[in-house]
Symmetry: C2
Subunit: 352 residues, 2 copies
DNA sequence: ACTGCGAGTGTTAGCGCTAACGTAACCTGT
DNA sequence: ACAGGTTACGTTAGCGCTAACACTCGCAGT
């Protein structure tokens, strides 16, 4: 049985609850199913009188249209698949907000799938989502399994790969260059005269964007003849705590270090808190920087330097691309939108 | 046109891409559509030879089944609607994790809808979700519009209201008593001898659970003949920063205050950071407590007292109820599961 | 030989809705 | 008066899939 919208019968003992259909509304209001359908979709010509009658009947019965049948008949689905690695790290919720805000009122609805940074999970989630024939797909990153890539190519709907532009998109792309983000940060750090640099990050075999930032960062340092003095990676647990612990460990290991670059703001914040407690002169003796530009750092005793990842804007622009496709039926030319993140120097990078 | 899975024709110029159906796979593999359907669903008897043949053909073509048609035909939908107020405040992502983990491997898939704490939005999101005829609904809170309540009652599927048990559930409920949580915290605070208590929270007209905590809290204080000395509410912005600012303002306003109760851990953390910087003796001169038990507080210089909201477990138990319904067709008796949050005293509540 | 049975496959009839077209009634202008 | 249009419906034929049943084998039991 459908988990269907059911009908309260006059006599509850007489008949099992049935699932309501257009037919029930049509009988209750004395018009054809087609007219009911037109009223409920607000499409086509229906006289005001009939419209009110039908609406009243539908409301009275508590009818909720069956979009499964509707979509099958009309070959139109008001869903946009959004596939992201995680919901718990502050960056994707904001992307989601950008998407939702932009889609709001368009009739399209985002549906979220989570991959936990696993390409295999991404593949299965994508398969699952495509089986609902969404009007578009927004997914994080440019790195997918071959099977996933094949599905995307042959899906026949707009695909927007977000967050990252360092690579060849399948269709559209909106994001920032993480290589460049790493590079820019390296330059800023060198410009301030820091020399002995440590890196702290997530175990990033699976987080391609963090890896790209790291690569861009080290390469740029390399050009100045500088190598990272120390590095450490964590996984799991409270990011703030890990940042604190890893920072303490690293600074004890390497007394010479004069800058710490963190792969995200949360561990950076943890590190910052540790250093302030330890009485280290920030940014004099030690500079610090994170990545993402999360709201949280505004509330820290000192503002951590960071780089905005343009999260909201990415979601917004991705959704706009999907919407644009809805208007004109033909496939528009693939767009590749590269946003430029700005460094926020905060109180931990600028040496006076 | 469906945003459908399309076919690459041998000659890309010859024919527009068509959307693939079971028929295409059936023709490619030389068996009936029904047999293909059986193979792809792994149901019914199909010989190993045929099975392989069909799977190969499906993979070759890149066929992705159309669940819209499948669900319509079978009256079964593998979706569970999850309706929550927000994704950006750390509490619901963890509930989601509990739900996802539990549903994993069951064939059921959670689909999330966000209400932004607005009942009207909740109503429309619910309508939208029900129109896809999910196998169950999990939604936050017991407070809904009349229309939403009516939809829930007549949906004919298991409904689980989560987070809150202070009230009459529509069907099942899993959560904690927020009144009781407030009450317990009041007791703990009084037990430690604090007397001049300030409250800091979100503007909570819309957050019913925060309000219930506040009510439970003030009532219990009232029994001891104590009234809140000062209170302040915020909305929007960085919670950490707001906590810092509001705390500073309140302490400057009321020098007598000896305890601050925050409606969530993040503003509490902001307040804590401020107090530490200001050199206030915590918890000697001033005690503090938050609510939720978020991971983040592990990384603070001093552990904020808090109360675990059992977020993961709530998600888990809610999903289990839905799964139980899937097994036996009849409606099981409504369950009401009340979890008991535990106070974590941390370093900011226990006076020595 | 015949029935009986289960494994493997095909056939038929929808699921609940909407696109596309049909039709009846009513305008409007000349 | 009548063609030609417009408004307000109804009718028909699917959308792509699966439940339910029908059928065809081959083989065991008698």
């Amino acid at each position: 049985m459908f988990g269907g919208i059911t009908m309260k019968t006059e006599n509850p003992m007489a008949e099992a609850r049935r699932t309501l259909t257009l037919r029930d509304v049509s009988e209750a209001s004395g018009v054809s199913e087609m007219t009911v359908s037109r009223v409920l979709r607000g499409q086509g010509d229906v006289s005001a009188r009939t419209r009110e009658k039908v609406k009243a009947a539908a409301k009275e019965l508590g009818y909720v249209p069956n979009r499964i049948a509707g979509s099958l008949a009309s070959s139109r689905v008001n869903l946009v698949a959004v596939i992201i690695p995680s919901m718990s790290n502050m960056v994707f919720p904001e992307v989601m907000t950008g998407i939702s805000d932009t889609l709001e009122g368009s009739g399209l609805q985002p549906v979220v799938g989570i991959t936990n940074y696993k390409m295999e999970k991404e593949e299965s989630v994508l398969y699952e989502m495509l089986s609902w024939r969404p009007s578009g797909v927004i997914l994080a990153g440019l790195d997918h399994t071959d099977a996933a890539r094949a599905m995307l190519r042959s899906a026949g709907i707009p695909i927007v790969e977000i967050m990252d532009v360092d690579g060849e998109p399948t269709d559209h792309a909106v994001g920032i260059s993480h290589r460049r983000a790493g590079l820019e940060m390296a330059r800023a750090i060198l410009r301030e005269g820091y020399q002995k640099i440590g890196f702290l990050g997530t175990k990033m075999m699976l987080d391609f964007r963090a890896r790209k930032r790291f690569e861009g960062f080290t390469e740029e340092l390399g050009k100045a003849g500088i190598e990272i003095v120390d590095q450490e990676f964590y996984s799991g647990g409270s990011a703030l705590l890990k940042g604190r612990e890893m920072t303490e460990a690293m600074l004890k290991r390497n007394e010479e270090i004069d800058f710490l670059y963190y792969s995200n703001d949360l561990i950076g914040a943890g590190g910052l808190l540790y250093c302030l407690e330890a009485g280290i002169d920030i940014p004099g003796t030690l500079g610090m920087a994170g990545f993402n530009g999360v709201e949280l750092i505004d509330g820290l005793p000192r503002k951590l330097a960071t780089m905005d990842a343009c999260r909201y804007e990415i979601g917004q622009k991705a959704a706009e691309i999907i919407l644009r496709h809805g208007e004109n039926d033909e496939d528009a030319a693939p767009e590749k939108i590269e946003l430029t993140p700005k460094i926020a120097f905060g109180d931990t990078l600028h040496r006076r």
